[in-house]
Structure formats: structure tokens, C-alpha cells
Symmetry: C2
Subunit: 451 residues, 2 copies
């Protein structure tokens, strides 16, 4: 196409494309527009370099005029203007996310890259926002998707745009390092399974919080295990000693943030008694446990049972903070399974979502398109027989911000979606900052008016 334009001497004709989607994903009513920052970074660096041009020469027909390749060496995006809704905006179907003006040949060449940068970013931000709206503002949402994303870079995009869409943190440590997203995670079953006996616990002592005198930790944990088993009426000989060793090792290594993964062997018969024993031993030395995790089974039901046990132990042993220990749950959580968990009642504090967040299982593509709307000042239209694919000719004037009414009725967008913390990933463009503040004020108003 570029060669066709160049041969016809049309490469510098002014043209405008609009990037939009025809239908909202997930049978929903809105999209969280994202990817603008990466589009701008791409445009700033857009050039075809020597090896690129040599490659193009090798795949284009040998009859292609050599002067065309010299021309390509001069192409960049310096004459391209992009108008856009601000990063993280709520956007509706058929409204342009990007309006791209510039020389016909250049703006044509940008098509696939701009689509690639906006499509997945907006899709996963929207998906994250839907999880946030469902979970409510107070739950902690953790992105766990790296292992199921489209390669390492797909995983980074997933972490970044899940955060923009309203997640609190990621288990993708590189995303934490590169973008400043808070990182968090749980232990793997393999860590628990790698311990088979109490002999493997090293070191075996821990200093109490207010003393320099190390205490033998295992006898303390075993003492508490006996009491816990008695209280809960769990047979002590059904409790796995490798698991106890793993928990004790972890607690000695991280006394301020001990976490127990409960479902390696049996949640109620082994994992939970072992966790309570180690957490109570820690308590005796002045520390508080960080949380418990389950990664299989009926998450809602288990969370209620776990809370009951924590409450019972807290009351019996007079440890008031025990009943508030955060419960972390993950196991192929989807919008649908989360909805069921919520309907049935649960005690989960931290929700880990992987596969269904990053692959957007319900609809794994957004379907943005990039359509020519004017060339040489004349509106253009695709008048195909497939009426859904017809375009509206001419450049649109798009309102950057949906009104409060529109947000409420179409999107019921989560208020946390646009909290300042979630916006620090965006490009520091002055116009965006201004609009972001405006949007923030708008959402503060929404919150006040809905109270």
C-alpha cells in the first residue's frame, strides 16, 4: 500500500484515521481505554532502519522502484498528530479512542502497531475493572497471570493494564521492578512438599520481638499444635510433619510476614492446625502472621470454615488479631465463579486472579479497528454489504469524558478505578494530567452524590 501511494505521488496527502471498537467486550457497556502511552512512545521512535529496509527490499517484488526504499529511510512520525481520550478513560462503542492525522503513507503504515498496542491493553484493563466492580472497593485484588499470558511481554502488558484497571498488585516481579507496581505472592505447593520431616528445619531458633535471646521454635510450635488439635478436635496423627516443618522454616525466615498455604495435604485435617500452631508460637514471641492461602476446592465454603477456626482459636487462646488474619484465595477464579462465591457468602480478603484475567477468557479480543475517515479533507466511507462493517464518514468530535450520568448508567464504574495510585503509570502529558484531575473530581462528586 505504501508503495502504491508513493508511486501515485500521494504519500504526503493529509489523511485521518480513527481507531475504535464496534461492540463492548464481555457483553458489557464500556471499555477502559488504555495503551496510549505506548502508542506515543512508539510514534516518537518510529523509523525504518537500514536492516529493516534491506529486509523489505528482499521480500517486495524485484520490479519495485529503488527510489522508494530511499524514501522509506526518511519516513518518521514527526508530522503525525494524535488526539485521544485520556489513558484509563471509560469509552463506549464507536467512539474513537485515537484520532490519527498525518501524511497518508505514514498514518497507513501505523495501523497494525497502534491496534496491537491499544487492543489488548484496553481489553485487559476493562476485564480488571469488571473484577474490581464485582469484588467491591475493599477487597485486595492480585494479578497472578504471568504463566498463562502470551509470552513474557504479554505478561508484562497484562500486569501493567490490570493495575490501571483497578488491581492492587501483581506476582510479576519484573512488572514491579519496571513499573513500580506493588508485588505480592504466595508460596507454592512445591515449597511445602520439599519438606518431609522436622529435622529439615534450619535454623531452629527465633529471637522474640523484644529480646536478643533466641528461643527454640519447634518445641513451641509442637506445644501449640497439641492445644489446637484438642480445641478443634482434629486427630494429631493426621497432621503432616513435613508441612509443619515447611511452615516453621518459613516463619523463622519471615517472622513478620508468615503465610501458610493450607491445601497441600488437607486444609482442615493438616494445613490449618499446622498454620494455627505456628502462628500462635509466633504470637508468643511477639509477631503476627501475615495470612493463609487456599488454591483449590470450594473457595467460599473453605473461607467460611477457615474464618470460624481462626475466630475459635483467637477466642480460646485470647489472641484478638487472630480472627482478622487475611484469607487469600485463588483457583481459576472467573467473573462467574467470583459472583457465585459472593452470592453464597465468603470470608476471603485477598483474591488472586490469573488465567481468566490475563487471557480474558470470556472474550479474548477487543476487536478495535482503524478506519480512514478523511483524505485530502474529503470524508471517506466503507459502504460494504456487511452493514455492521460500514463506517461513518468524516472526522468525529469526541467528548473526552463521559458524563456522570453515562458512567453510572452504562458502566457503573468502580470509584477506585481512577484512584491516583492507578494513574501514575500514564504518560505525563499536560493535557492528560488536567483531564485526569477533572475526572478525579467528577468521581469524587459521584461518590458524594451516591451516598
Amino acid at each position: 500500500m505504501a508503495y502504491g501511494y508513493w508511486r501515485a505521488g500521494r504519500q504526503r496527502e493529509p489523511a485521518e484515521f480513527e481507531l475504535f471498537f464496534r461492540r463492548c467486550p464481555f457483553q458489557g457497556g464500556f471499555v477502559v481505554g488504555a495503551g496510549l502511552g505506548e502508542c506515543l512512545a512508539f510514534l516518537r521512535g518510529f523509523r525504518l532502519r537500514g536492516p529493516d529496509i534491506e529486509y523489505l527490499q528482499s521480500v517486495l517484488p524485484s520490479t519495485t522502484d529503488k527510489a522508494f526504499f530511499d524514501y522509506l529511510r526518511t519516513v518518521d512520525a514527526s508530522e503525525v498528530t494524535v488526539s485521544s481520550v485520556p489513558e484509563g478513560s471509560v469509552v463506549f462503542a464507536k467512539v474513537p479512542l485515537l484520532q490519527v492525522k498525518g501524511p497518508l503513507l505514514v498514518v497507513q503504515l501505523l495501523e497494525t502497531t497502534l491496534l496491537c498496542l491499544v487492543n489488548y491493553a484496553s481489553l485487559v484493563a476493562t476485564n480488571a475493572a469488571r473484577f474490581r466492580m464485582l469484588a467491591g472497593p475493599d477487597k485486595k485484588l492480585v494479578e497472578f497471570g504471568l504463566r498463562r499470558a502470551q509470552g513474557p511481554d504479554g505478561g508484562l502488558s497484562a500486569s501493567k493494564y490490570s493495575y490501571i484497571g483497578g488491581f492492587d498488585c501483581t506476582s510479576n516481579v519484573l512488572a514491579g521492578q519496571l513499573y513500580g507496581i506493588p508485588v505480592c505472592g504466595t508460596v507454592a505447593h512445591s515449597y511445602i512438599m520439599s519438606f518431609t520431616s522436622l529435622e529439615e528445619v534450619q535454623p531452629r531458633t527465633l529471637k522474640p520481638l523484644d529480646s536478643e535471646e533466641p528461643v527454640e521454635f519447634l518445641p513451641l510450635a509442637e506445644l501449640w499444635l497439641g492445644r489446637v488439635c484438642q480445641l478443634l478436635q482434629v486427630p494429631c496423627d493426621g497432621v503432616n510433619h513435613g508441612e509443619l516443618a515447611a511452615f516453621a522454616s518459613y516463619a523463622i525466615a519471615f517472622p513478620h510476614s508468615f503465610q501458610g498455604l493450607l491445601d497441600t495435604y488437607s486444609v482442615m485435617g493438616s494445613g490449618l492446625p499446622n498454620f494455627c500452631a505456628v502462628a500462635l508460637a509466633l504470637h508468643q514471641l511477639g509477631y503476627r502472621a501475615g495470612g493463609v492461602c487456599v488454591d483449590s476446592g470450594d473457595l467460599g465454603k473453605q473461607s467460611r470454615e477457615i474464618r470460624w477456626v481462626l475466630r475459635t482459636c483467637g477466642a480460646a487462646f485470647q489472641v484478638p488479631w487472630f480472627e482478622t488474619i487475611p484469607i487469600v484465595a485463588s483457583n481459576d477464579i472467573s467473573e462467574r465463579s467470583l459472583q457465585e462465591i459472593i452470592q453464597e457468602g465468603h470470608e476471603i480478603d485477598v483474591i488472586g486472579v490469573g488465567t481468566n484475567l490475563v487471557t480474558c477468557t470470556l472474550q479474548p479480543s477487543l476487536g478495535c479497528v482503524y478506519k480512514l475517515v478523511t483524505v485530502n479533507g474529503h470524508p471517506t466511507q466503507k459502504l460494504t454489504e456487511d452493514t455492521e462493517k460500514m463506517t461513518i464518514p468524516g472526522s468525529k468530535v469526541c467528548q473526552a469524558l463521559p458524563s456522570v450520568h453515562e458512567i453510572k448508567s452504562h458502566a457503573q464504574a468502580s470509584l477506585r478505578l481512577f484512584s491516583p495510585a492507578h494513574l501514575r503509570l500514564q504518560e505525563p502529558e499536560p493535557y492528560q494530567v488536567a483531564v485526569t484531575e477533572k475526572l478525579h473530581a467528577l468521581l469524587v462528586n459521584m461518590r458524594q452524590s451516591s451516598q
Copy 2:
């Protein structure tokens, strides 16, 4: 976990993990295992560098022993051994794709990266193989998915592993440049729409194949358009002149590979008459057209109608090659829609698949897991109450190659799947090359025995 192992002095204990999936994707019977090459490249370069360690120090508790970070500086994968099925093998559920042996701390750290590199690669290669099996060995399959992939790198993975799974080429030019995959593509509607009148055609002449004397091209095309309209009984005033201009410009630029995108305005009322006129004008000057494309509507039905027109024109104007002009079709093609097209009968030669190939819409994740099977020579097992998630303890002996019988009954794998062209992307490891030759011989035998 790494800190826990290190604190317990267990970092160098010998351990083995297996990477496998529990169920085949797409309700199918096999997976094309892929990603091994990238795993090996990752392992060769695996090290934690200064800034990585500083970042880890900033996010781990301040009580973490400083000596641990010094230890991390020494960690690499030099003591890790990987056994694997060869790249591109047919693999079944619960059979290890990778067996990873080495020091406990190191092999634990590799979990997420290895899963990330194998999961999507194998999923998309499998998806591509399913499209190939459905389309049969003679159709040309083109990957069109970049704009819907998870960012630019997700798009590159999609192109690479679709090719390994049996596609013929990609529209992702960077994948062509980096991996040597053949590139091909079609024109966009915007190219057609950017032309509004015949005045815009520049240059206006074309040299015949066997002469240096340029000929005015437009009068020739217009002459043929009148004849074609009369033959097909299509009203000449319904034919779009901008489209004719776009086709003529393209033909003058690429006389050896002129393609017509037919569905910008009306396939039968404008696109096809314009295409035939330009292709017949090219024929008169000694050239052959490269193909026609449709990107909307009922692809099967349209392809039959188009073939009828091409055949009719070829017969009426005595141009025998006309009826064999390749028909390219794309429009959100899925396994299901392709199956319907095939059942209803079609004349498509080249099938472009984008979204449903690269996002694997039917099941957008493979769900490989990475489980500890031995530590210190002792088998380990996860004995959870969720019986599907229980693991089989101990190291497995896995047969690298499925037997011919297994391939036939479980997978009905396409013979083209393992053609030498599709294997040149793999790592040049001697053992792989050997096995690849063996596999190739096996498939040649299969082909012979099935005849």
C-alpha cells in the same frame, strides 16, 4: 521460597520438577509441544544482575539476611539439566513436556518463566495444527493476528508458533525479518477508500512485459470494464470509480502480483467487475493477476460466486488462467466457521486467520503446571482433597515420540505439521535434529501406509 530454602541450608539439594498439562485444550486429544528453544535460551542467560538484586532487596522484609543477596549474585542455571520432548512433538495429557533437574533453589525459581514460555507457545501451535488438519494439506493458511495479540511480543510468539503448528506464512513483517517466516498480506479497505476518482491514478502508463513502449493503462481498463459489465449483466454506472482507480494504481505498481480487495463497496456490483477489468487489461500486456480477497459476509457462498465469474470471464475472453486466480478469504474465521464453510462447499484457496488463531478463543490458556516430583532422591506428592490436582510422585520415563498408532488415533495429526520447512525454527541441538529426522521418517511412513 528461595530465602526459606537458603536459610534452611537446602539451596543445593538435588530436586526435579516436571512441566505438564492435565487436560488437552479445545476438547481435543493432543498438544503440539513448543517453546523449548526459548526455554534453553533463557536458561543459558539466567542470572540476577545488580539492579535486580537491589530491587529484590527493596521489596523483601528489612529483616532479610544480607548474605542472601550476595548468594543470589552467584545463582545461574549452569547445574540445571533439562530433558524434553522435541520441539513440535505431539504430546498427551499428564506426559511431561519438560523435566528440570538441578539445585532446589534454582529449579524452584525457574517455575513461572518456564511455564510462561511453554504454555502459550504450545497452545497456539496446537491451535494452528487444528486449523491445518481442518483445512487439509493443500490450502494456504496465513496468520493475520498481530493486531489482536497480547502486545508486540505476544504477536511475535503467535506468528512463530503458528508457523511451527502448520501455517504457511504471516502478515507480521517483523516475524518474517526475525525468524525467516514467509510474509504475505492483503490490501486494506482504506487503500481502496483513499481513491475517489480516476484522476488520482499516477503514473498512468505501464510497459507490456515484452516491450519497452509504455501503454496508457486506464483506457485499456475502462474498455475491459465495459465488456465485463456487459458479459456479467452488471450496470456500469453502479461500479465505483475510486475503486477502479485504486485497482489500476495497484496494478501499475505491482503488475506481477496485482491483488483486488473486493468488498469495500459491493463485491458483485463493483469490486469484481473492476478487478476483472484491471486483470484483463494486465493480461493484454502479458501479466497475470495475483488474487482476489474478501473480508466480510458469507465467505463460502461468495467464493463460489467469484469462481463462477472468473470462470465465465476466462471462457468468454479466452484467458485460461483466469479461472484459477487464487481466492483469499478472511473474516473472523474460527474452527467452527471454517468447518461450516467446508461443509457447504467453497472455492477459497488462501485462508487468513487472525483473532481466533492467536487468542485461541475456544480456550485461551493451556494450563501447564510445574510440579516437584523428587527432592534429595525421594519422590514427593501433592495429596490435596481436589483429586484432579493430585500429582504422581517420582520422576517419569517418557517416550519422546508417540507411536504412529497413537498419532493416528489420538491426534490425526496433519502430515504437513512436521514438514522440514516448519521445523527450521527450532534450536539446532544435535539430539533434536536427530529426533526430527526420525519423526520425519515416521510421518513419511504414515503417509505411505495410509495410501
